[in-house]
Amino acid sequence: MSVGLEHYLVVSGLLFGLGLLGVMLRRNLLVVFMSIELMLNASNLALVAFSRFNRHLDGQVMVFFVITVAAAEVAVGLALIVALCRLRLKPDVEELTTLKL
């Protein structure tokens, strides 16, 4: 059996859903972080698949941007986590309530 566009998209959707669940449910900031990366990569997968099947390179160009943004995001996010650790807070989302009014 040949692998079609649908298969890629289903995998991409599953990955995205897993990432979203991870963001919403996990407590550890590092894991939340990795879940966000997972969501980004799920979208990358979808973009590449579209690009391949539509014979059009726009999707792959987009992926480069997503990877760049993801790298930048990792840098910022890890810096935040390090800063939190310096404040001797656990890297736990339950601790981060300073956004509350």
Partner: protein, 634 residues
Amino acid sequence: MSGPEQLAWGTLLLPLLAAACVTLFALRRPAMSAILSIGAASGVFVLSVGLFASLHGAPPREVAVTWLSVGGLEIELGLRLDALSLLMLLVVTGVSLTIHVFSLGYMRGDRSAGRYFAGLSLFLFAMLAIVLANNFLFLFIGWELVGVSSYLLIGFWYDRPAAADASKKAFLVNRLGDFGFFAGLLVVWTAMGTLDFGELEGKLAANPQSLGGLTSVAGLLIFCGVLGKSAQFPLHVWLPDAMEGPTPVSALIHAATMVAAGVYLLCRVFFLLALPGSIALEVIAWVGAFTALLAALISIQQNDIKRILAYSTLSQLGYMVMAVGVSGAARSPVPAMYHLTTHACFKALLFLGAGSVIVALHHQQDIWRMGGLRRRMPLTFVTFLVAALALCGLPPFSGFFSKDAILAAALSADVGGRSVLFGAGVLVAGLTGFYMTRLVVVVFGGASRTQAADHARESPWILTVPLLVLAVPSALSGFWGIDVAYARQFGVSHPADTGGIVARLTGTFAHAPAAAFGGLATALVGIGAAAVCYWRAPQDGLSKWLGAVGRWMRDRFYIDEAQAALNSWTQERLAWLADVIDRWVIGGAMVRGAHGAVSLAGRLLRLTQTGNPRTHAVLFAAGVAVVVLIVLVR
């Protein structure tokens, strides 16, 4: 545009220039301000004489510049030179000039004389604007400026509470009338599409029905303005209070400028009032007659020399207004303008004479603290007597002719109840004779009642020369054919009596014997009665004899009090209601309500802000899901 029109603009603007110069440069220099102001007044007088001489008998001329042009609405500022405005110009500037000169003596030593003269010049400018205006709007501007300048001058001694109150009262009461006037102006403009007097007259002459159902309404609304400015019942209350201003100002207001403006307006727009089917003239006649009678009755029991004259002015204004009202049959309000002219001269003279007496007695105004002044102040006495006789309407003084013209017009009027109007006029003539004789006898006759009166001395020439100048027209202007000059304005043939003095006198009696003999006889009766009552009287014997009625007269029939009560009943309650609405409905429910609702919503929405990133993530995801759903469903 050539000579005369340029002169007219100069005439109009010269006093304004003087007022501006005084305000800007000479406010603290009394002598300089007086020179500027009197210079402007004399310049204007000379110009008016020139205008009158060159345009007398010529057809009406107009000159206008466009002031505003907004869409289809074009408003002009224009001057109209016709028989009416030319003669009125002469009266206003002539009387004003003598009052300006008199002011120089009267206001000597007052540190704020600069402010006084600036006000005087502004007043003159405003009045000239009314006289010369060729359309309603320009006239209205002058009308309002007269109100403003009278406010400034009545409240000249603003540190006195009475003067400050009087100036406010004058201004507010006038505003009340002007509101009606402005409404009338709008009615005319809506119906006719023009405010130009010449155009209006032409259109109305071509089609008297063009105002439709608004014929009476327009006339009556315009008359509202006259009620205020010419102090007719029930808006007459400001005029006696206006006595709080300096005496020359009283003379100016009472004689040639402010109150005359109302009657002048009535004559100016007579064509509008006299339209067939309009009840305006009838109302005007009755209001005038009532005011004349009421004021004459009040005047009998006043004790302040200026107040007696003030009520006398009210009464004479009532006469003039009545004269306009009864002129419907003759198609021309010549008697009103005639009386306005003669009255301007002798009433200015009376007020200036009173001013001279007041100065001599160190600002004593109670007539019962005067007496015997005929020997101490002979010049003032003689001129005052001339004016008083003119006011009483004795031949050959000017007042006789104009009053007789009014009574004759009342006799031949085409309004219902003209015999009542005539009777009221005759009665007022008698009352006038009574209160003027009372005034003259008590002030100048008998023996001095106080030390001050005993030591009074004749005023300096700066005060007496204006008196002498005014005495000439007061005595003689009945022979000058003023009525013939006015008649030219209204295009009616007047029984031109170009004969000599005797011919004019006999002509008056022959023309309407009932009016002439009736008015003269009652005036003589009034004079005689007052002479009997007050000759060498130590105090007012009549007021005891009159009892309660006398008290009513002295207290001005409690009209001021009634109006104050009405005010506190209506206006104060209205103000209270407005306050409640403002405080609770607008401030409470609307302003604070809006603020409260927004604040409450904010507080509620704040509960969703837990600060937990996971909650935010869930809400964010839910939001995205909703957006995606909406996009997909559509």
